[in-house]
Structures are given as structure tokens and as C-alpha cells.
């Protein structure tokens, strides 16, 4: 996982020719931890500290009407203005793309970034929307029924990715 994050960090620097005007926004919960890790790695390499925000997309979900009960809403905390800057959205797993759609809609309610890029640790395929990540830690072919979980030490686990059969 560390090697994957290091590679993503180098790709971010290469693609953007440095860290000028870059900001990071993690999608709760896993994405926020990964955004902080990415920021730490970028600081090691380039010495610059990027602002990191946290996005909770619950209020922008497209499946609220289909759920039996309302999911818990947590706070969105973006303590900086990203107008005319580049926002790199960070999430743990890219699957249908619906989370990213919700995240982009919400970001645009906060301001008008010059560009939105997407970094994910795992791309497991099965997109339902035309969305593609700019930076991928690792691509995992999965079947739609499987569940992919990223466990992180920030949540009190060992860093690892588990794939479960939804049997």
C-alpha cells in the first residue's frame, strides 16, 4: 500500500509539474486518511504542504430514496478556498463511479476549481458512469458481487485490502 501511494505521489508531481495550486480532498472515511497520507508523501518529496479537506457525500447520494433507513451524515470540512485551483479527489475504492459523481456535484457547490483530478487506491472496475481515475494505486479485477474493503491503520487495523464473496 505504501509503494502504491508513493507511485501515486510521483505521478501527481509529474502530471502537474510540481505542487503549485494543488489541493487534496478526501472522501469520507477511507479517502480522508489516504489524502493525508498522500499529502505527507508529497511533502517528503517536494517539501510543500498541501491543504487537505474532507468530504461527506451522503447528502448528495442518488440512492437515498431506495434505502430502508437514512445513512448517518458526517461533516464536510474543507477549510480552504479552491476556486481556480486544482482539486485532487482521493478515495479508497473506485467502483460504480456514483460516489465520485456525488463528490464532484458537492465540490462544485463549494466553489469552482480549475480542474478536478481523481486518485484512488483500488480500481475494481464495473463503472456505471463515464468516470475514470487519473491516478490508480492498483487495479483489481473483481466480480460485481464481491465486496472490496480497504483497512487502514488510522482506523485501528493493519493496512490491507480484503475481497469478500457476498455469499
Amino acid at each position: 500500500m505504501n509503494r502504491a501511494m508513493s507511485r501515486v505521489a510521483h505521478e501527481v508531481i509529474e502530471r502537474n509539474r510540481g505542487l503549485t495550486d494543488l489541493t487534496l480532498v478526501g472522501i469520507r472515511t477511507g479517502g480522508v486518511h489516504l489524502a493525508h497520507r498522500l499529502a505527507a508523501r508529497l511533502k517528503e518529496i517536494e517539501g510543500a504542504v498541501l491543504p487537505v479537506g474532507a468530504l461527506d457525500i451522503t447528502l448528495y447520494r442518488d440512492d437515498l430514496n431506495k434505502m430502508r433507513e437514512q445513512p448517518a451524515v458526517r461533516k464536510t470540512e474543507i477549510g480552504f478556498d479552491f476556486t481556480d485551483k486544482i482539486v485532487i479527489l482521493v478515495d479508497d475504492v473506485l467502483f460504480t463511479g456514483r460516489t465520485i459523481r456525488a463528490a464532484m456535484d458537492q465540490l462544485i457547490d463549494f466553489g469552482r476549481p480549475r480542474e478536478i483530478q481523481l486518485a484512488v487506491l483500488i480500481d475494481r472496475g464495473h463503472r456505471e458512469l463515464p468516470i475514470r481515475a487519473n491516478y490508480v494505486g492498483k487495479s483489481f479485477p473483481t466480480s460485481p458481487e464481491e465486496k472490496v474493503k480497504v483497512l487502514l491503520k488510522e482506523e485501528g487495523e493493519d493496512d490491507r485490502v480484503i475481497i469478500e464473496n457476498a455469499a
Binding site: D56, T58, L59, Y60, L64, N65, K66, M67, R68, E69, Q70, A72, V73, R74, K75, T76, E77, D105, Q106, D109, F110, G111
Partner: protein
């Protein structure tokens, strides 16, 4: 974890977990109110009806803003200027609103029990915005939210509730909620305005304002409901202000960091002096701000359980 009830009629419909869920959710919604674009698409396509049979500025506006910030469609109906004035019964009005596919109905009514009558007869979620002298649950929730925000805790606080407890639905809801979270409650007011049933409420009763203020963390002032008076419960307004008005001199008897709250609208110079209402201890405007966040949380949490057929996740 969802709320257990389809409606919010009384604080007694909730348990401690529900209370915490509502307050935590409201914290997230408070952040939405601080954004430049104070709107999220969460309740798009839902219809919220404000059905108010009594005058209200704060509560109705607060619910309306809460619903609009969640992108719901909002309709306001007040007793005057609607077919209620033509003699339509409460249930008929509500059934007709329901027939227009409402999802949530917020009701304020002079008669205790009106919201529960609706809850039993229509499928929309019913939120009680004040019924007679019974309850006003969202007011108690926003009071708790404000106390928790300022004091960082709810347990173990001493809260003095002052004034016309007899007519006050705000007091009844607040007492139920504060008891649930483990606060000590003191009631103080003229003996004519302290109802006899307080003996069963598990609260301390004072008739001397100063006694009740000693060591208080929070002072909750009740509005003197001038429209419900005229029955000789106290001699004159001036005497009431003298005995039960919160002045700077009385405020000094409570703890240094005491919080002064009032559900509004305030009668300046009667139950609270202007310098206290506008002073550093006052949380009155914070209550209004928090009211919108708390009502967004209630609308959100009740909107999902209202009338949808369960779908497998």
C-alpha cells in the same frame, strides 16, 4: 441507525440514542448552513407542508428554511386565509394535503393532541411544531443542541426553567429531554403558574428566583404568553417583571459561565431585561441559528422512514 418512529410528536417518542443521533446529525447540517451555497440536494422531490393553526415567525421560518436547504418543496398553510376559516375539520384538511402526495407535514395547533390525531390518520410523517400546552419537541432538541455546543456536555448540568410553566409546551418538552440526558432541573415561577402535576416530574420547584439561580449552568426563560393570560394569574406585568424578570443583578447569582436561553419571541423588560438579552451570556440568537440545523436533521431522519416500501439493500 434510524429513528424508531414515523413521526415526531413528543420527546417521549425518543430514547437517548435517538437524541444523540439527531444532535450529531444536526452538527453536520450546521456546516451546510455556513456554506456560501446553503443547499444540498438530499430531499429533492419531497414535499413538506407547514400547517400552522397558530401564529409563528421563528418556528415556521426555521422549518421552511430547513426544508428548502434540503431542496424539498415547501407549502405554507395558515389557519387564516385557508379553508380552515370556512370550517373544514383538521382531519379533512390533512387528508386533502395527503392526497396531494405530501411526504412530511409540520403542524402547530392550539389543541394538545392535534398532531397525534394526524399521525394516526395520514401516512405522511408528522412533526409537532407545538400543540397547546403539550409539547414542542424540536424546540427542546435545539435547546439541547445549543447547550451541548456551548457546554460540551449535557450530563450533570443544572438548568433553571423560569416563568409560566403551566402554559408552556416548551417547558414540557425541555424537561423530558433534559431528564433523559441527566441534567438537574429547577422550575421557578409564580405559584399560580407552576402546575400541580410537577410533583410527578422529578424536578425541584422554587418560588424564589434567586434561590433557583445559585449554581445554575443554564437559565431557560419561558416567554410570558400574554395571549394566554387575562385570568388573574399575577397582579400586574410590572410585578411579574420585578419578581421573575432576569436582570443583570440576578444573572450574577448564577455560575460565571451561565448560558441564558429563551425560545422567543422575547418580551423585553418583562421576563428578560434588554442588557441580559443582548449580553455575553445570551445564546438566544445561537438558538435561532441552531434551530434550522436541528430541523434539517429531523426532516432528513424522518424522510426516509415515512412511506417508502422497504427495498432490500
Amino acid at each position: 441507525m434510524p429513528l424508531k418512529s414515523k413521526d415526531l410528536i413528543s420527546i417521549k417518542d425518543l430514547d437517548r440514542d435517538d437524541l444523540r443521533l439527531i444532535l450529531d446529525t444536526a452538527e453536520s447540517f450546521k456546516e451546510v448552513g455556513a456554506r456560501e451555497i446553503k443547499k444540498v440536494p438530499t430531499l429533492r422531490g419531497k414535499t413538506v407542508v407547514n400547517l400552522f393553526f397558530e401564529p409563528s415567525t421563528r418556528t415556521r421560518t426555521s422549518f421552511e428554511l430547513a426544508a428548502k436547504r434540503l431542496s424539498a418543496d415547501v407549502v405554507n398553510i395558515s389557519a387564516s386565509g385557508s379553508s380552515v376559516a370556512k370550517g373544514e375539520s383538521l382531519l379533512d384538511t390533512a387528508r386533502n394535503i395527503q392526497a396531494m402526495q405530501s411526504d412530511l407535514i409540520i403542524v402547530r395547533h392550539p389543541c394538545a393532541g392535534a398532531p397525534v390525531l394526524l399521525a394516526r390518520n395520514v401516512s405522511s410523517a408528522i412533526i409537532n411544531a407545538g400543540d397547546g400546552a403539550h409539547e414542542h419537541p424540536t424546540q427542546a432538541l435545539l435547546d439541547l443542541f445549543t447547550i451541548r455546543e456551548r457546554k460540551k456536555r449535557l450530563e450533570g448540568l443544572t438548568v433553571a426553567i423560569v416563568g409560566d410553566v403551566l402554559h408552556s409546551r416548551v417547558a414540557r418538552s425541555a424537561i423530558a429531554a433534559l431528564k433523559m440526558v441527566g441534567s438537574t432541573i429547577r422550575l421557578v415561577g409564580p405559584p399560580t403558574m407552576i402546575p400541580r402535576e410537577v410533583a410527578h416530574w422529578g424536578v425541584e420547584v422554587f418560588y424564589q428566583y434567586e434561590e433557583a439561580l445559585k449554581g445554575a449552568d443554564v437559565i431557560m426563560i419561558l416567554r410570558l404568553q400574554l395571549e394566554r393570560q387575562g385570568r388573574g394569574l399575577f397582579p400586574t406585568l410590572r410585578e411579574y417583571a420585578n419578581l421573575y424578570g432576569l436582570t443583570a443583578r440576578r444573572l450574577a447569582m448564577a455560575k460565571d459561565d451561565v448560558l441564558v436561553m429563551h425560545p422567543g419571541p422575547i418580551n423585553r423588560g418583562v421576563e428578560i431585561s434588554p442588557d441580559v438579552a443582548d449580553g455575553l451570556s445570551s445564546a438566544i440568537l445561537a438558538q435561532a441559528t441552531n434551530g434550522v440545523a436541528v430541523r434539517m436533521a429531523v426532516l432528513y431522519l424522518l424522510s426516509g422512514v415515512a412511506k417508502h416500501e422497504p427495498v432490500d439493500p
